[in-house]
Symmetry: C2
């Protein structure tokens, strides 16, 4: 399987059928979603309520598509752009779509309003997904027409480069909706995981910020410098986590598997967990100290350039992953 195929989604999907989807809200996340759907062959309607936003978004998507083409991750930027349909009207955007991906501002009132409109304007059998990273779906999906088709589908930014998507149903989301969106996400080359019930931060941000909270404790109490934390990941933990997650790492670290590993190291696991200070009361002084240290290496003025370098590295890593994939349902491990 080539890197292009990995990030384009499964073979023989969209192009023949030209199924329609709509991306509502065209910030960083919404634009990246448009790329994800378009490269899988879907016709993507782009809509944003802000005047001129869609036009600007098309130019930015075009630039990102060029980057993906240069990196060898899509065959043709022009081919991708041919799947993008800018719309100035919401009703027009959602006409005949099978799915709407909402990526507007993280404001519960705005989301509530947008979903009320989507519920009335979109085909009643279209699934409606929110990209929210912080709000539980139940807080803004209650009063939508046919609300059982609504779900949270939280991507990692940008979904055009990072495949994980967290599906988090509201209490009233139907199992048909879950299965339909899960299938769709796989069809476009993403890796969906399913939360069985709502929890603040879903999985990704809970794991990320739990680790960061302990890291703030370690730096705040003078055990190490911020760059040491980063090095523990880049030169240590992530060299396995890039292809096997923490449970599988443990499973493979004992010839008796996970149970054997815990029998051997469960004491340390428990001690560290109990000893962790994820409720560490970090304050602005600590945050600013870490900021200054990071800014010594990457001054704030250089961040846009560093972001481009980061995205180039992720694209390079996608090529590496593609070489490692064994074709088993997109699972690297």
């Amino acid at each position: 399987m080539t890197a292009g195929e990995v990030t384009k989604g499964r073979a023989a999907t969209g192009d023949a059928t030209k199924k329609r989807v709509a991306c509502v809200g065209v910030g960083n996340v919404g634009r990246a979603w448009a790329i994800v759907f378009a490269r899988a062959g879907f016709e993507v309607a782009l809509y944003d309520s802000a005047a001129g936003a869609v036009k600007r978004a098309v130019a930015l998507i075009d630039r990102n598509a060029q980057d993906l083409e240069s990196a060898g991750l899509i065959d043709s930027a022009a081919g991708l752009m041919a799947h993008i349909r800018p719309c100035e009207d919401l009703d027009e955007a959602v006409r005949d779509v099978i799915h709407v991906q909402e990526s507007v501002r993280e404001d519960v009132e705005i989301k509530r309003e947008v979903f009320a409109r989507l519920g009335d304007a979109a085909p009643v059998n279209a699934t409606l997904a929110s990209s929210t990273s912080a709000l539980p779906g139940s807080s803004f999906l209650e009063d939508v027409t046919a609300r059982e088709r609504c779900i949270v589908a939280h991507p990692v930014n940008p979904p055009s480069l990072i495949p994980l998507v967290e599906l988090c149903p509201a209490p009233w989301t139907s199992s048909e909706t879950v299965e339909s969106v899960r299938t769709l996400m796989r069809e476009i080359g993403q890796h969906p995981i399913l939360l069985k019930k709502e929890i603040a931060g879903f999985l990704l941000n809970r794991l990320q910020y739990t680790l960061v909270a302990e890291a703030l404790h370690l730096v705040g109490e003078g055990y190490c410098e911020p760059e040491d934390i980063d090095a523990v990941l880049t030169h240590g933990l992530a060299m396995r986590w890039a292809f096997i997650g923490p449970f599988q790492v443990a499973h493979l670290n004992s010839t008796d598997g996970f149970a054997g590993f815990v029998e051997q190291l469960g004491g340390m696991m428990r001690t560290v967990g109990e000893d962790a200070r994820t409720d560490y009361p970090w304050d602005a002084t600590l945050i600013n100290r870490i900021h200054e240290r990071l800014a010594q290496k990457t001054p704030v003025a250089d961040i846009p350039e560093a972001q481009l370098a980061r995205d180039q590295r992720i694209m390079s890593l996608l090529h590496w992953r593609a070489g490692e994939y064994d074709g088993q349902d997109g699972d690297i491990s």
Copy 2:
């Protein structure tokens, strides 16, 4: 810089000078250390108190060296093996060494005894480092001759593939020892980080098991399945952490840098940290449930094969990293 150079250590080090080191204890960790020193051109004395252990270790090191040669990560397995000197006597092993790396069993009494002997047998200016992953150096380094030269240098297993080393001085470790061992670790191509004071689990295992503790909470309370946790890392978080750590990720996620990121998302960071249940009282039932789930994918009988596949992937990732390194002091980011 080629992948071979990355893992062989810095250019123009050992071969000319043939500095001597000793690896005491020849389990997985000790043998991997022997490879790390040997490929950097040091003459490595191998010693273990168990009868026949050194001879068996040489055969296993040879096999690993062949794998590294096949993967293009060293030029010649035979060249590496020429640097390995098996010893049946501790005094002979530590003669004229500049450094001893101890990797015996994780037992405080055994370590104490081994270091007492090393302190008397090794040259008084040789640094003495322990590979312990769990024991604070102060618990077994107190009564060593010239104890100021003793330090913990905790690797990630296997150090021949993963470069991070955690240096953790005991209260009496001299700053000269810290600097000397730090320089040595860089010379052999590892990435040392320094803890400023002792803490249980050092940095790597604290960060790892804090995340795992919250993962056990999420699986234990039915939010998700174990494979979802693993997917969050492999298809999400680690796609950045493989080359930029969590603080730098945050720094680059805001055009105002880390401080700007925390201004925007500090609320979620704090909530997640306070809400994390790293003290979750996991029990054998939960551990066995996770084990069974992991064993569905990788049966216990297949673990040795899966370990080989894992190590092949790490070697492949080392090649990827080598392509991404910018030559700035081995720092990938």
